[in-house]
């Protein structure tokens, strides 16, 4: 590969060209040079293999076993049952299948709403903070704080706010504003879904804000000047300059936020103390609880693999559609 001396790669492969011959020069260097990047990567690759790739393969294998509580201690004795776990858990006529489907719809609604609101708040803050003014740095730091807080500290605080008898929310709504006669429960029943959504938006919107703020820094100021000279008002500039320029950031941001919220475990786990109400039974919590309640890791793995496949298909479709649209415009 390193035949031309003008290619940037070649320069790196002959770093000692100008140095006097010392120890390393006597050894054959060619193979070592090409090995070096692999040696540098080795620790990262080993860790990724051990913690991500191998467990994933093991997970797929587990989903094909009858890995119930009798076989957990010594899983080599678990019988191979093929796709039986998938058939049982994804059978929409069974009770388990219905619960899983319900959990899926709840998670989908939760993710779409959470991502939508997080993006809306993020773009609002990024746009209004684009122009320098007094106090901008303080507001920026304040807006990033929910993202910097450890998730459990943030969510525990919210669960205090949402307590029926001692929480701020009911105090304001019922005692101070008198909007309701009896104190609603926010962490059980139908309200729990909306509580979960608000907490999740509170936690996630700063990430959208951070990315969009970074994206806006790459928009040249002259574009706005030109648009203003052409008589474009605020909304026109937003639609014709800001949003098109943010498109690459948005494409990645929306997908990443969607995957994160769809897989969200922490928020419901801390908010509801491990037992999410049916209305807020996100898929990760659902798999977690059904796996550790019955110790049936086989069907738990089957559900996890199905979840992964679903997310892969969604991501691939998303990337395909957004790429095709870009080609159309080109």
């Amino acid at each position: 590969m390193a035949t031309s001396t003008t290619a940037p790669d070649a320069d790196q492969r002959e770093p000692r060209a100008g140095s006097p011959a010392r120890g390393p020069a006597r050894r054959p260097r060619g193979p070592r040079r090409s090995l070096l990047p692999y040696l540098l990567l080795a620790p990262a690759v080993v860790l990724e293999l051990a913690i991500h790739v191998i467990p994933m393969v093991v997970g797929v294998w587990m989903s094909l076993l009858e890995l119930t509580q009798f076989h957990i201690r010594n899983w080599s004795t678990a019988p191979f049952i093929g796709l039986e776990n998938y058939r049982a858990t994804l059978d929409l006529n069974s009770a388990a299948g219905k619960e899983l489907l319900h959990s899926f719809w709840v998670t989908l609604a939760y993710s779409l709403l959470s991502v939508g609101f997080a993006w809306l708040l993020g773009i609002s803050a990024a746009v209004v903070l684009q122009r320098p003014f007094r106090g901008r740095a303080i507001l920026r730091a304040l807006f990033l704080t929910p993202y910097a807080l450890p998730v459990y500290a943030a969510v525990i605080t919210w669960s205090f706010l949402l307590q029926r008898d001692t929480g701020l929310v009911n105090h304001v709504l019922v005692d101070q504003l008198g909007l309701m006669n009896d104190r609603p429960f926010w962490l059980i029943g139908d309200n729990s879904f909306w509580s979960l959504l608000v907490v999740s938006v509170w936690r996630n919107w700063p990430f959208a804000f951070l990315c969009l703020m970074a994206g806006l820094q790459n928009v040249p100021g002259e574009l706005y000047e030109a648009a203003a000279i052409d008589g474009a008002g605020f909304w026109r500039r937003l639609r014709s300059v800001t949003l098109p320029m943010l498109r690459p950031v948005n494409l990645v941001l929306l997908l990443v936020l969607f995957l994160w919220t769809f897989n969200d475990f922490n928020t419901p786990f801390v908010l509801f103390g491990g037992s999410a109400p049916e209305q807020a039974d996100l898929i990760s919590i659902h798999i977690y609880r059904s796996s550790f309640k019955t110790w049936d890791f086989g069907s738990g793995s089957a559900m996890s693999v199905a979840l992964l496949l679903f997310l892969l298909v969604v991501s691939a479709a998303y990337l395909l559609i957004t790429n095709r649209r870009r080609d159309d415009h080109a």
């Binding site: 320069d11 990262a44 467990p55 201690r73 205090f160 001692t166 977690y288």
Partner: protein, 279 residues
């Protein structure tokens, strides 16, 4: 370009609403940490009836908070340092060499970041437990197991951010060092790393925050001895009492270090995100 009156008022309204949304929970956390117990048991009060620092003292004895804190500190610090060390070498290879498998590596590593944590949880749990039974290497319910797990969690994003940083350092610097006779590793340590210090610090803080805030694996992979704050903080609610004032005090104490670190370094995160996203 002048701002119209409408835009100015629009900006003020948006900023006020957002600031209220963000501040109210933070306000409740801070003020409730200074409330006597009866203030958090009988209805809500905006201000402590009698401001006190007692919750900050009591919180250490209600649950073994000191042990959780030490566990979290040990696990998060070691995981962060190891993660950054591993990421530095990997990012150097990706940024400065063209080799077979470079693209595959980058894509694989980044995509694991997107996979559901629950997918890894059950197999890792089984692997750790069975490895312990078979070889005596205690990974389950040990801090070592957590460290290895967490350091891998922050690895993909750390590598990605560092590649962005390293790419922004002119190759002319490398070449100058090489002309002076420096090998690849000396180039890395004496030329590239000194120029990338802000990025390395930002990535370290990110890796620390990842480990400090992780809940899912902490709830399954720890026992009473290795429990971290993520799980331990839920111990303040007993059958008879929920010590909300102590919970808020403890939440405040465990939040302040990471929030301060993050905010102090936020512009480097923005720079890292931009650098990584440009490619």
């Amino acid at each position: 370009m002048r701002e119209t009156a409408g835009e100015r008022w629009g900006r003020r309204i948006v900023l006020t609403l957002l600031a209220l949304f963000v501040v109210i929970p933070l306000y409740v956390m801070v003020t409730s940490a200074a409330k006597p117990l009866q203030d958090v048991q009988n209805g809500f009060t905006w201000w402590p009836s009698r401001p006190t620092l007692q919750p900050f003292i009591d919180m250490w004895s209600t649950v073994p908070l000191a042990r959780y804190l030490v566990n979290s500190l040990v696990v998060s610090s070691i995981a962060a340092i190891c993660s950054v060390a591993v990421a530095i070498f990997a990012a150097f290879a990706v940024s400065r060499y063209r080799f077979r498998g470079r693209g595959v590596f980058s894509v694989t590593v980044l995509s694991t970041q997107m996979f559901p944590g629950i997918l890894f949880l059950l197999p890792l749990f089984l692997i750790y437990v069975n490895l312990g039974n078979a070889t005596g290497i205690e990974l389950y319910a040990s801090r070592t197991g957590l460290i290895i797990t967490y350091l891998t969690f922050s690895l993909p994003f750390s590598i990605w951010m560092l590649v962005g940083y390293f790419d922004s350092i002119p190759r002319g610097l490398d070449e100058a060092a090489q002309v002076d006779g420096a090998g690849p590793l000396r180039t890395l340590f004496q030329v590239i790393l000194p120029a990338a210090v802000p990025g390395v610090v930002a990535v370290t803080v990110y890796a620390f925050m990842t480990a400090w805030g992780e809940v899912l694996f902490a709830s399954v992979m720890t026992d009473e001895g290795s429990r971290t704050l993520a799980v331990g903080l839920q111990g303040y609610s007993t059958q008879f009492n929920v010590y909300w004032n102590q919970i808020m005090a403890a939440s405040l104490v465990v939040s302040v270090p990471v929030v301060v670190g993050f905010l102090a370094l936020q512009r480097y995160f923005v720079a890292g995100l931009t650098a990584g996203a440009v490619k």
